[in-house]
Structure formats: structure tokens, C-alpha cells
């Protein structure tokens, strides 16, 4: 397809890479962070790190929603499944370790776990099983939140009452601020996520870029998009600028997707959120408003998403903040592999450790 393949042209990549090497000499050492699982995968898959100058380090930040989901959340999902409730989820969640078990483990013991391609599948399962309860695992960033919330609107319209959601929604802009404030991360610029930005709009970052004086470039996730993003960041660093550049104008508008934003605002309000390996970031989550708590699985079934105990040896938090590379974790490729992951970063194909495992060895 032209709108995919066209963004993978080798010769163009060579030209942009040359430019990157020239700019890197003026820009000095650069730590550039991407916060999008699709970027993480593309960077690993196309070997983008290998063609960049040594002075440019690409850090895969907390861009994979599965990886930042707390152990306590998995525990709650496993508990729900144990009560005989149908748990509907994106497939990536099955192997994520909670404090002791996983959803895959619960399934092998007979729990009703359904892998969904779309949150609409959860609604269908609820409609088909009116005497059963169905909970959708509502994780994700701004890209995924509107599709998930849409099912509540539909459930109300179709009078389906046996569906609810377990929320662990996360917001990108507050996370950027927390990362920018973190001295250990010491980031010089951000490659901003394409499809989160499609929802929230380029305008959502302008205040951040100005206040923190950190360059930001919204880039698509095809290889040429990423290279252009890196080039733009280096150019700004070389010139001492800090601006927001939208390199993904073919999809991202200044104001974002108004329908999606209105839907989110109608059902959800901001709350503090706990990011696995990173900690609590103020205002970085969204939860259901009071009037919609009948859709909240924690209220409906009395489960808690607080206080889980992840395997403390997992260093996902340091990986996601760019403090170590995945292979510097002692468990990498020994105890922790995609087949038997110890930490969440090894589970999803978008996780830093899994992407590194698959392409970089």
C-alpha cells in the first residue's frame, strides 16, 4: 500500500541519515525519548539505532500501555476472573505478571478470559450472555480511550447492563512532564506519539514544549517518519531552539479529534495514576465520573487496584526511563524471555525488552 510502503524508501532514508550525522556534530550528545510502542517496535525492527551517530541515544520511554500497568491491576483482573466473571481484554495482557498469577494462568484453570481485537467484542459477549457479567480491561493511552468509552455509550443505547470496565487509562502529557522533571532521565527532546496526538491534537503539547524548553516532534511510525523526527530534533538542538513540530500532519490536526475528546470528557475525569516501575504521576490517569460508576468494575464487584507486589528484580522502570538498556537487566534472556516474562516490558511486542529481544540480539 502506497501510504505505508512509500514511507520506507531506502534511498530517502540514506539521505536523511546523512543529514542526521551532520547535525549531530553540532547538536552534541542527545538523549531523545520516544513514548509510543509503535515507535519502539519500528526503531528496533528497522535497526534505526545502528544507523544513528554514537552521540545520539534513542530511549524507549513508557509508551507501551501494557508495560506500565500495575501488578495490582492484574491482580484485580485475576480476582474478577476467579469470581466467574467474563474478562475481555486485548491479548497482550494475558502474560503480564501480577503479584503472583497471570490471566493466562487463570484461563488455563478454566476462567472465562476472552481475547478481543476491539472493545466492541466485549459488548457482543455481554449481549450474547445476558445472565453473565463481562468486564473489559480498559487500559491504554489517549488513542485507545475513545474506542473503549464508545462501548459504554452503545451499552446504554442498547440497554446492555452486564458490561463494565476496569479502568487504568493513562495520559501522555502529564507523563512527559514527570519524565522531563526526572534528573536521571536527562532527556533532551521527545519524539511524540502519532496516534495519541491524533486524538489530543498538536496543540496539547505547546505549553509543555515552551515551559520545559524541550524540543518535541510528532512523528509517524514508519522508518522515514522516525528519521525525519530525529533530524528535526537534532536540528533544534543544534540551533538551540525548543519548538513543537508536527511531522505527521497527514493525520494529526492542531485541535485533535473533537468527537473523541468530547466523549472522553463526558464519561471521564482526571485522577492520579500509578505507572508500573515509575510510580504515581499526578493527574496522569482518567477514571469514570460519579454518574457512570455503574460501569466501574471496582465498584460493581468490590475489587481493588491498589497495593500489588511486582517482582522487585524487574528493572522495567529503569528501562522505561532510559537509565539502562534491556540487556543490562540481569534477568534479560535468562529468567525473563517473551515466552516466560518476569516483567511487563517483556510481554507486549511493543515493550522495550521484548522489542530488544526480538530484533537487537
Amino acid at each position: 500500500m502506497k501510504y505505508i510502503d512509500g514511507f520506507r524508501n531506502h534511498r530517502t532514508a540514506r539521505v536523511i541519515t546523512e543529514e542526521i550525522h551532520e547535525l549531530a556534530e553540532q547538536a552534541g550528545d542527545a538523549r531523545l525519548m520516544e513514548v509510543c510502542g509503535s515507535h519502539t517496535m519500528s526503531i528496533a525492527r528497522y535497526g534505526i539505532r545502528k544507523i544513528l551517530p554514537r552521540s545520539v541515544r534513542l530511549i524507549s520511554g513508557p509508551g507501551c500501555p501494557v508495560c506500565v500497568t500495575d501488578a495490582a491491576y492484574i491482580d484485580a483482573a485475576v480476582e474478577l476472573a476467579g469470581k466467574g466473571i467474563h474478562v475481555a481484554t486485548f491479548g497482550d495482557m494475558l502474560k503480564v505478571p501480577g503479584s503472583s498469577g497471570t490471566l493466562a494462568g487463570a484461563r488455563s484453570e478454566g476462567a472465562h478470559i476472552h481475547v478481543c481485537y476491539s472493545p466492541l467484542d466485549a459488548l457482543r459477549i455481554a449481549a450474547e450472555n445476558p445472565s453473565e457479567q463481562v468486564v473489559f480491561l480498559a487500559i491504554g493511552f489517549e488513542t485507545t480511550i475513545p474506542p473503549v468509552i464508545s462501548i459504554l455509550k452503545r451499552a446504554a443505547a442498547q440497554n446492555i447492563q452486564n458490561v463494565s470496565i476496569l479502568t487504568a487509562f493513562k495520559l501522555v502529557p502529564p507523563a512527559l512532564e514527570a519524565l522531563a522533571d526526572d534528573r536521571d532521565v536527562a532527556v533532551n527532546g521527545f519524539l511524540l506519539p502519532p496516534h495519541v496526538s491524533a486524538i489530543i491534537g498538536a496543540g496539547a503539547y505547546r505549553g509543555f514544549v515552551r515551559d520545559y524548553r524541550l524540543p518535541g516532534v510528532i512523528a509517524g511510525f514508519e522508518p522515514l517518519d522516525i528519521l525525519l523526527g530525529v533530524r528535526d530534533l537534532l536540528q533544534q538542538l543544534a540551533e538551540g531552539k525548543a519548538e513543537l513540530v508536527n511531522q505527521y500532519e497527514r493525520v494529526v490536526r492542531e485541535q485533535g479529534n473533537r468527537i473523541a475528546l468530547a466523549l472522553m470528557d463526558h464519561y471521564l475525569k482526571t485522577a492520579d495514576a500509578s505507572w508500573r516501575g515509575i510510580g504515581t504521576i499526578p493527574g496522569s490517569g482518567l477514571v469514570l465520573r460519579e454518574e457512570f460508576l455503574n460501569y466501574d468494575a471496582t465498584v460493581k464487584f468490590g475489587v481493588s487496584v491498589q497495593g500489588g507486589k511486582p517482582d522487585m528484580r524487574c528493572r522495567c522502570g529503569d528501562v522505561l526511563r532510559g537509565i539502562i538498556f534491556p540487556d543490562e537487566c540481569p534477568l534479560f534472556n535468562t529468567e525473563c524471555t517473551p515466552v516466560s516474562p518476569v516483567g511487563p516490558c517483556m510481554v507486549s511486542s511493543e515493550g522495550s525488552c521484548a522489542a530488544y529481544f526480538k530484533y537487537s540480539r
Binding site: V15, G63, V148, V251
Partner: protein, 77 residues
């Protein structure tokens, strides 16, 4: 998980859903999150929902720019 890909709209239904196509595979897509979608539009699909339209003019311009850049490479070698 945030993977979202461009697909072409090939069928529209009354209830703001439709059928989209990518590489000869057809997908049922919910179109209720985007405005004024028409047949043959390209949309970005994520988890069964179109989350935004692809601006074809902008995409074509960008592809042209890439082709031009590729040309400069061929001349160099």
C-alpha cells in the same frame, strides 16, 4: 497496542459503521468517532475504530518530497 493503520473506506452503513480494506482484507470498522467520512476516504483504524482521517493531499506531498530526496541520493552515487 496503539498500532493504528491507514485503511480505505469501501462501504458505509446507516449506523456509522462501515467496511474498510487493507491489502485486500476487509474489516468492520466503527466510524462514529470521525466526522463526515465518505467512500474512498482513508482512515486510521485502531481497535476496530477509525480514530482520524488520513489527509491524502498532505500524504502525497510528503511522498513526493521523499521521492525527490531519493533522487538526490541516486545523483550522488
Amino acid at each position: 497496542m496503539c498500532l493504528a493503520v491507514p485503511m480505505k473506506v469501501i462501504e458505509l452503513r446507516e449506523d456509522r459503521t462501515g467496511v474498510c480494506e487493507l491489502e485486500n482484507i476487509r474489516y468492520d470498522v466503527d466510524l462514529s468517532l470521525i466526522e463526515s467520512v465518505q467512500l474512498d476516504d482513508f482512515v486510521i483504524v485502531h481497535a476496530g475504530f477509525a480514530i482520524e482521517k488520513l489527509d491524502i493531499e498532505e500524504a502525497n506531498e510528503r511522498l513526493q518530497l521523499f521521492e525527490d530526496l531519493a533522487e538526490t541520493y541516486r545523483e550522488d552515487v
